[in-house]
Point group: C2
Chain length 277, copies 2
C-alpha cells in the first residue's frame, strides 16, 4: 500500500481530513506520566490511542524529538514502530539537501525511522528531492506556501515569467517531480485563496495544511479550499490544539474531544457525503 492509498483508506474509514501533529513539549507532560520510563513516549502514545479512529494521519515533528537529544530520536523511532499500522505517519522534517546527503536523509527517515511520508524543502531543486522520490511507496510532501508570517519573503516573490514563486513550486511538483505519483504539497491554512489556486493547478496532489489552531487559521475555509473534487486529498494538521486540549491527567480524553470536534467541523465544511465514510 502506498502512502496515498493508506491516506485515502484512513480518511474514508474514519471520515476524517484531520491529522494530529505530535510536537511533544517536555514541560507540558501531564504529572501522571512524569514517572513513566519514557514520559514523551507515554504521552504521545496515549494521544495516538485516543485519536487513531478520528484521523487520516499522524504527523510527528522530528525537531521536537531531536531537541531531547539522541534519546529523543530513539523515542520517535519506537513510537512510529508501535503506532497503528493503518494510519499513515508523516514525519515533519523539512529536509532539503543534495546528492549523497539527501540519500542519507531518505534512508534515515524512511528506512530507519519508519516514516510513511516526509516533508521536504524545495530550495535546492529537483535533484535534491530525487533520493526521496525514488521511494515510490512513500509520500514526499514539498513545502509550497508555508503558514508563517515570513513565508512571503521568498515564496511570494513575483517571477519574471509571471506568478509567485510558490506557484512555480506547485507547477514543478505536478509536472516534474511526480513521476512516481508520490508527491504532495504543504500549503498553510492561513491562506485559503492560495490553497484554492494550488488545488486548481494540482487537482490530484495531496495537500498537507498546517496552521490550524495554535498557529491561527480558519479551519473550515482552508479545508473547503484545499479539498479535491471528491472532498479528499487534504490533510489538515492540528498539533498543540489537540495535544494540549487538557493540561491535567485527563489529557487523552480532552485530546479525543478536540479531535472529534475538529474532525466533524472539517467534515461539515467540506460537505457531508463528499468526504467518504
Amino acid at each position: 500500500m502506498t502512502f496515498l492509498e493508506s491516506l485515502l483508506a484512513a480518511s474514508r474509514r474514519n471520515g476524517s481530513l484531520l491529522c494530529v501533529g505530535l510536537d511533544p513539549d517536555p514541560r507540558r507532560i501531564p504529572a501522571a506520566l512524569r514517572a513513566a520510563p519514557d514520559p514523551i513516549y507515554a504521552f504521545c502514545m496515549a494521544v495516538v490511542a485516543a485519536t487513531a479512529d478520528l484521523v487520516c494521519a499522524f504527523k510527528p515533528n522530528i525537531a521536537f524529538f531531536e531537541a531531547l537529544g539522541p534519546a529523543g530520536v530513539a523515542t520517535l523511532r519506537r513510537l512510529i514502530a508501535d503506532m497503528p499500522r493503518d494510519v499513515p505517519v508523516i514525519v515533519d522534517a523539512k529536509r532539503g539537501d543534495i546528492g549523497s546527503t539527501a540519500a542519507a536523509y531518505a534512508e534515515a527517515l524512511f528506512e530507519r525511522l519508519g516514516a510513511d511520508a516526509v516533508t521536504l524543502s524545495p530550495y535546492l531543486g529537483g535533484d535534491s528531492l530525487q533520493p526521496f522520490l525514488r521511494y515510490a511507496g512513500k509520500g514526499c510532501l514539498v513545502l509550497c506556501k508555508t503558514s508563517n508570517p515570513g513565508s512571503g519573503d521568498l515564496q511570494d516573490l513575483e517571477l519574471a515569467s509571471g506568478g509567485p514563486l510558490y506557484m512555480e513550486v506547485a507547477r514543478r511538483a505536478r509536472d516534474d517531480w511526480n513521476a512516481n505519483g508520490n508527491v504532495g504539497l504543504v500549503v498553510g491554512a492561513t491562506y485559503p485563496a492560495v490553497l484554492a489556486s494550488v488545488r486548481a493547478l494540482c487537482p490530484d496532489l495531496p495537500l498537507l495544511v498546517p496552521g490550524v489552531g495554535a498557529q491561527g487559521g480558519a479551519l473550515a475555509d482552508a479545508a473547503r479550499a484545499a479539498a479535491d473534487i471528491n472532498g479528499e486529498r487534504v490533510i489538515v494538521n492540528s498539533s498543540r490544539g489537540v495535544l494540549y486540549a487538557g493540561d491535567g491527567d485527563d489529557f487523552a480524553d480532552a485530546a479525543r474531544r478536540e479531535a472529534l470536534r475538529l474532525r466533524d467541523e472539517l467534515y461539515v465544511a467540506v460537505g457531508a457525503g463528499k468526504a467518504g465514510a
Copy 2:
C-alpha cells in the same frame, strides 16, 4: 569569541581557507578501526587530529550521523565535545522550519550538540531564521546558490524585480538578517561568477563554499572569487577528497597530505600575503 572571530583566528593561525567536511560513510571506515568501540568516532577524530592545524573550520554533516540511527547523533555530540576548541565547528544541517520548531532545532544544534555555526535554508523566510539568528555568538550560514546541478530549478529563477532568486537571498542576508553580525552565505564552488557577484553584493559576509573535489569544482577560481578584500571570510569545504584520500590504514596521513595540498593551493590562489598567517 563569536563564530566569525573564531573563524578568522583559525584561518590566520593556520594560514588556511580550507574546511574539512566530516561525512563519514560506515562502508569506508579503514579496517584498523572497525574493532574500535565507536569506529565512526575513531575515524573522524583521527582525521580531525591529523588536519586541525591546516584548516579554518570543520563541517560535520549531520545527515551522515543521523543515518546511523540515534547512536550516530550521540557520536556527533561526543565528537564535537572532544574536538579542538580553537577550530570552529559548522554543523551542516540545512534546517528551515517555523516558530517553535525552529527554536527547537536551534536549541538542539547550538545548545545540545555544541555547533559553533549551522547551515540554514531560507525558503521559509526571515522569521524562520530568527530563532537561530538570536544566538549572536553563533554563525548562521544561509543557503544561497548551491553546488548541485538542480540548484537552478528555483535559485536561478528570474524575479520580476530583476535578478535571480539567489541574489535576493544574498541581499536579504545582508540587509535584513545580519543585525547581530552572525550571518553568512553558502555558495557552491561550481559557479565562480556567482561567487564573485555575491561577494560584490556582500563584502563582509563569510561565504561557505562547498563543491570542491568529489562534487567537482575549480578550487582556485572559486577561492579567488569568494575571498573578501583581505583574502579572507571564505570557507572552502572538501569532504570526501580529504576523508578518503587514502583507503588503507594510513588514512590519517593521506588526509593530512591532501589537506596540506588543498590549503596551499588555496593560499596561492587567493594571493600570498593576503590570507593572513
